[in-house]
């Protein structure tokens, strides 16, 4: 066991994935054939031997509750601690409705779970967003945080991860000390913060009460940028990172899984990504199946053709179907002779015989959950 507590903001990001987040929060977006976005951060935490994780929710969290359950799929169903689901407190909801119906920022969200925060027994806390897809070595990041003596350690990537307008970028000085933070604008030689921060629980406590008292609500703007006396250090992570910001990034990040180096970076034997089990049969390939360059989950029945696609659990691709460059989510049914290209079908979508749906790499067509085409 580690002396670190996990906190996940399950509502963060996902601003422009309308069809896909209509019924769910961004953290429960299906990703990579058999996962939900939040599986990555939860797995990162348990792989760092974190045994207490709080998940802060805001709205549309039914599918997330269903997915997380008691937390036993992540070994977080514990008598003491384990997974703690933190939906909005009633009082906050009414108050927040006056202010536009949402938390104004993650510090406000933390203030809403103040009593939970004060019960944290671990010395350190790692806070992260639920829409970040990466296999992060949090244990190593904690070690570096302790060794550096910094107040806050931010995990940063040399890559461009988010859409530039939302990206939190940092300039680094000596020993990776953060010398400047710029939001929505990236200067040369800057790194992008992944919004994964490690700090002591006592510092978090005082920051939350300070922000609450000063009507400040945003960790990036009100804490990292304004409080210049804080010693902030970057932990550089050069592995694969994806953020599910928009339909096209969602599409691109799924497609990234077709590259061996991306799969190697996020699916590691020593730090496996765990998800809710569905106990599905293996996938059956029919005599006439032709599948090339695809990531395929269990429980599918494939008799047609698929290429460059990500195929989730329980998908049926009938004879004479041609699917290419597409993402077919759980239990999508594609009937005889249909053609799909650059399409994203949400759960339980049915594509009837002979239908043809073609999007483009820059504008994939997303079909909402349960639709019949």
């Amino acid at each position: 066991m580690n002396d670190m507590h996990g906190l996940i903001f399950a509502y963060a990001g996902g601003l422009h994935i309308k069809e896909l987040t209509e019924h769910r929060t961004v953290s429960s977006l299906p990703f990579g054939g058999r996962y939900r976005a939040i599986d990555f951060m939860l797995s990162n935490m348990i792989n760092a031997d974190i045994v207490n994780v709080g998940v802060i929710m805001r709205e549309n969290y039914q599918s997330l509750l269903d997915h997380l359950g008691s937390g036993k799929d992540w070994d977080l169903a514990r008598k003491r601690g384990g997974l703690k689901l933190l939906p909005p407190f009633g009082y906050n909801v009414t108050r927040l409705q006056h202010e536009g119906g949402v938390f104004l920022g993650n510090m406000a969200a933390l203030a809403g779970v103040n009593s939970y925060l004060s019960g944290i027994r671990e010395e350190y806390v790692v806070m992260a967003d639920g829409d970040l897809v990466a296999n992060l070595p949090l244990e190593d990041a904690l070690r570096v945080h302790i060794d550096s003596g910094a107040d806050i350690t931010l995990i940063c990537s040399p890559r461009t991860v988010s859409s530039p307008e939302y990206a939190v970028n940092v300039a680094l000085g000596e020993k990776n000390r953060v010398s400047d933070i710029s939001i929505g604008r990236r200067e040369p030689e800057m790194f992008e913060s992944l919004n994964v921060s490690i700090l002591s629980s006592s510092l978090l406590d005082s920051l939350v009460s300070y922000c609450s008292a000063h009507n400040a609500y945003d960790f990036e703007r009100d804490v990292l940028q304004r409080m210049s006396d804080l010693d902030v250090v970057a932990y550089l992570f050069d592995g694969y990172v994806a953020r599910l910001h928009s339909t096209s990034t969602f599409f691109r990040c799924n497609m990234d899984l077709l590259r061996a180096e991306v799969r190697e970076s996020i699916f590691r034997k020593e730090r496996p990504i765990k998800t809710k089990g569905r106990d599905q049969a293996p996938t059956y390939y029919g005599p006439g199946a032709s599948v090339r360059n695809c990531v395929v989950a269990d429980g599918c029945y494939i008799e047609g053709e698929a290429e460059n696609s990500v195929i989730f659990r329980g998908v049926r691709i009938s004879e004479g179907v041609r699917v290419h460059n597409s993402i077919l989510m759980q239990n999508t049914k594609v009937s005889q002779g249909a053609v799909l290209g650059y399409a994203i079908t949400d759960k339980e979508v049915v594509i009837n015989r002979g239908r043809m749906l073609l999007g483009h790499e820059t504008y994939p067509i997303a079909i909402a959950k349960g639709s019949v085409v």
Binding site: G32, P272, D279, T283, D298
Partner: protein, 411 residues
């Protein structure tokens, strides 16, 4: 009570280190997943699993029963190994003795009926229907039977029953079978009756303490009310290399009666969490089952591939079973073979042969044992069983190392 202590000696190298019920099956399962899932789907929530032979992997697999939803506060799954008692304790001598030794466990639940299952069959069955029948007919013992082809009846325990399903006699592997109803090794007993017969049997030093050989004949002779319960559907004993291979191949048949895709009767398993499988640019996969964690770059047809298998570019696998974690290297050819867990077939090696290119009498399923490496370019002949690394090609017959060599004729 699930009898899972069998050694499965006719699976040879596949059961050197694991009990037969723990042998991988059907892409992501183990044999024991079928009876355990049947229990849960039949609303049976208290299951004792009797283990004896090489139990470590099986015990670890069953654990607290979480994959089958049998991690319960009341009942649930309980692993029952033989244990030391006041006067020294002993191994389970036979199937009936295994139950006899666990009478204390059974009595804590004070059951009305006891269902006895074995851990070496592949089938889906609603035991609750059988128990209902047992209760309705006020039987003392109900035995599940399945029709087998008349010419194969001599391989099974055959039950002869009247029109009302009352069992007239029972013969183990009869030369001249009187019927074609084979016992499936699934029994429902009224516990109070069985208890008395187990006690009686335990005092008989000549008894093999076996249900088929002793308890059932004893009860028949005593005139107890014993009925058959006829089962229709897929049922297969996977006790031999050939039958294990066939049962896996059966799963590929269109409309096979096992239908593991049926969500109303799921087969649960304790498979590890692995990423989805990846089928590469140059891969060709037809008429096969593939599961999580695999990377397929070669060609495969008519095969069942388990978790975390790698098939490299140019490799060719057909009519084969490749168990978890095995690697088939570039340009290797694997035909009509079972490649066991963690085995590795080296570059350009050839394992097994198509029955059309070898004399019928010589043909058989080829087996590479768990963790064994077949060196690059090595040829492993049809029906050969490789129990240790094979890095050089011997000119003559293989040396008689433990577990290595050809097995006897087919049953």
């Amino acid at each position: 009570m699930l009898l899972a202590g069998g050694q499965g000696s006719r699976l040879y190298v596949l059961t050197t280190n694991v009990a037969k019920p723990a042998v991988p099956f059907g892409g992501k399962y183990r044999i024991i997943d079928f009876p355990l899932s049947n229990c849960v789907n039949s609303n049976i929530d208290t299951v004792g699993v009797l283990t004896q032979y090489q139990p470590h992997e099986l015990n670890a697999y069953i654990g607290a029963g979480l994959p089958w939803d049998l991690d319960r506060l009341e009942g649930g799954v309980r692993v029952l190994p033989p244990y030391v008692k006041g006067k020294g304790g002993e191994w389970y001598k036979g199937t009936a003795n295994a139950i006899y030794q666990n009478m204390g466990f059974i009595e804590t639940y004070d059951p009305e009926y006891l269902l006895i299952l074995s851990g070496d069959h592949i089938y889906k069955m609603d035991y609750s229907q059988m128990i209902d029948q047992h209760r309705r007919t006020q039987a003392d013992c109900t035995i599940a039977v399945i029709e087998v082809p008349p010419d194969e009846a001599c391989r099974f325990g055959i039950l002869n029953a009247d029109d009302g399903g009352v069992i007239l006699d029972f013969e183990e592997k009869p030369k001249k079978p009187k019927s074609n109803l084979a016992s499936m090794g699934i029994y429902v007993f009224t516990w109070s009756k069985l208890r008395a017969y187990l006690l009686e049997d335990s005092h008989n030093p000549k008894s093999r303490n076996d249900f088929g050989a002793n308890i059932i004949p004893m009860m028949l002779n005593a005139g107890e009310r014993m009925l058959i319960h006829q089962f229709k559907g897929y049922w297969k004993d996977v006790g031999t290399i050939e039958s294990l291979w066939e049962a896996n191949m059966d799963m590929l048949a269109p409309d096979n009666q096992l239908d593991i895709f049926d969500r109303s009767w799921p087969i649960y398993c304790g498979a590890k969490s692995a990423p989805p499988h990846f089928v590469g640019e140059g891969a060709r996969v037809t008429h096969s089952l593939l599961t999580e964690g695999c990377e397929i770059h070669g060609e495969m047809e008519n095969s069942v591939i388990f978790t975390d298998v790698i098939i490299q570019p140019g490799a060719f696998v057909k009519y084969s079973i490749v168990m978890p974690g095995a690697v088939i290297e570039k340009e290797a050819v694997v035909e009509y073979a079972i490649i066991a867990e963690g085995a590795r077939v080296g570059r350009g090696a050839r394992v097994g042969a198509d029955p059309s290119v070898v004399p019928v009498a010589d043909w058989g399923v080829t087996v590479v044992a768990p963790g064994v490496t077949i060196g690059p370019g090595i040829v492993v002949k049809t029906r050969e069983m490789v129990g240790a690394d094979k890095l050089t090609q011997e000119a003559g017959p293989a040396p008689p190392a433990a577990g290595t060599g050809k097995r006897g004729g087919r049953a």
